[in-house]
Amino acid sequence: MIKIENVSKSYGNKKVVDNLNLTINDGEIFGFLGPNGAGKTTIIKMITGILSIDKGDIKIDNNSIIKNPVKAKENIGLIPDSPDIFLNLKGIEYLNFVADIYKVGKVERINRIKELSERFNMIKFLEEKIENYSHGMRQKIIIIGVLLHTPKNWILDEPITGLDPKAIYDLKQTMKDYANRGNTVFFSTHILEVAEKLCDKVGIINKGNLIYVGTIEELKQKLKDDESLEELFMELIEND
């Protein structure tokens, strides 16, 4: 469970997140929508401890990211918006690094790496350096790394970008399976169709303020029933 309590954040004099409150329950797929610069990545970076929080707190399974960051981070797996990380390592070196940090046992790690690499068609490329991977392959190796220690809370920042159709399908299936096993899946996206088909709940953020939280059906009822999510989204953003 992820609980965001009265969180505010400024870059210099510019307020990018204003007194945000949000709870994402276990077993839920939560889609975080908003235009560019709305504050989505900033919030994800605060949830995962990459950025400091000016005001308020974020709790991951009741562990505060401010007061108890190590415990909180043990329950998080992050797919960042840019997969251009750990480029100097081979795929297998990166996976072993992650397994070492999360103390995944030897037998378990071998099995998990094999299972996940096969699922994402990466088994042939594990001995290659990540910098030689394509954008989509980099995205996949990070997904495998994150799922290696089966975190209770899976956070994805624009995960679909750069993936081929099969990988998008596999990722969506994995997200569904993951949430069905009682885990939390929190992801930001620009692609409204994905949110519509995948999410139990969505949150729409604009200029650092959460302007809507609920199901897609509730959103449709709130506005005009016959509109597409795209039209509803535009209406909300323009009215804000």
Binding site: V70, K73, N88, Y102
Partner: protein, 286 residues
């Protein structure tokens, strides 16, 4: 904790070295197309030649004993300048920090891994600049095995001391001056300061040479006086030089041990209290 520190140190060092492009990633051999590789080769040759000339000249006037004084000072100042320039990048502005922050790593583990990376980089500089001249000196004046043992200890320990001091001041500076929010401001301030220091030191040095009418012996004595003054101020250099010369070995080892324990413990304390919080704030401005 130690395992995590080692894992992170390895990762940060691989990143730093591979970004220099010294190793050919495909063939896993030294990359002879890299400018850095050729710079190192030329530097090594120049250092060998100049050191040989200086040692011979000093032997000519019976003053070879002052070579370690002068050379240790040179290396010390070189390492200090290098660490001042790279320390903020390694601790606060390096890109690899952001990819590590989401992992459950204790602030002290991250801090010590970064510290190890800084020490590792200084070791490379030391390998290039220090080992050959000091071995040449040892061979020229026929010193025993004790000299080489002391030399290895000095090579291992001097960068650690420099890193402790520079990291300490780096943390204090970044915490005190809120203006230092990004690497450009910091680099500008530090570069200006260092260029000013180097300019005035060179001015003083050249003035001394002109005053002494280009007399080699007087210049060397002047240089030695400056070196003795710097070495006294830097606490650890003199004990190492005395050990190299086989003087007061036990008392100097105890003195060095105490200095390292006190400074390192203070650094870890300050680092655990001040480093991580400020790091997250600095990241907000990137």
């Amino acid at each position: 904790m130690i395992k995590n520190i080692m894992l992170l140190t390895k990762l940060f060092t691989i990143n730093y070295v591979q970004n220099l492009n010294i190793i050919d990633k495909k063939k896993n051999k030294i990359n002879l197309k890299s400018v850095y590789v050729w710079m190192i080769i030329i530097l090594l040759m120049a250092i060998c030649f100049i050191s040989n000339q200086i040692i011979k000249s000093l032997q000519g006037i019976g003053q070879e004993g002052i070579f370690p004084n002068i050379y240790f000072t040179f290396i010390f100042l070189l390492l200090v300048m290098q660490s001042i320039l790279i320390c903020p990048n390694i601790f606060y502005f390096s890109k690899d920090i952001e990819m590590i922050l989401p992992y459950p790593i204790k602030p002290t583990e991250l801090f010590l891994a970064k510290f190890n990376t800084l020490v590792g980089i200084l070791y490379v500089t030391e390998l290039i600049f220090m080992i050959i001249p000091m071995i040449m000196y040892g061979i020229a004046i026929h010193i025993g095995i004790g000299y080489y043992i002391a030399l290895i200890s000095a090579i291992i320990l001097i960068p650690i001391f420099i890193c402790i001091i520079i990291t300490f001041f780096n943390i204090l500076l970044i915490n005190l001056f809120k203006i230092i929010k990004n690497e450009n401001v910091y680099q500008l301030l530090i570069s200006t300061l260092l260029i000013t220091i180097v300019f005035f030191s060179e001015y003083q040095f050249i003035s001394n040479i002109i005053k002494n009418e280009q007399n080699f012996q007087n210049t060397i004595i002047n240089l030695n006086d400056i070196a003795i003054y710097i070495n006294k101020t830097t606490i650890v250099i003199n004990p190492f030089i005395q050990i190299l010369h086989g003087k007061n070995i036990i008392s100097n080892i105890i003195k060095l041990f105490m200095i390292y324990i006190v400074t390192f413990t203070s650094l870890v304390y300050i680092g655990s209290k001040k480093y991580f919080k400020r790091l997250l704030t600095v990241k907000s401005y990137r």
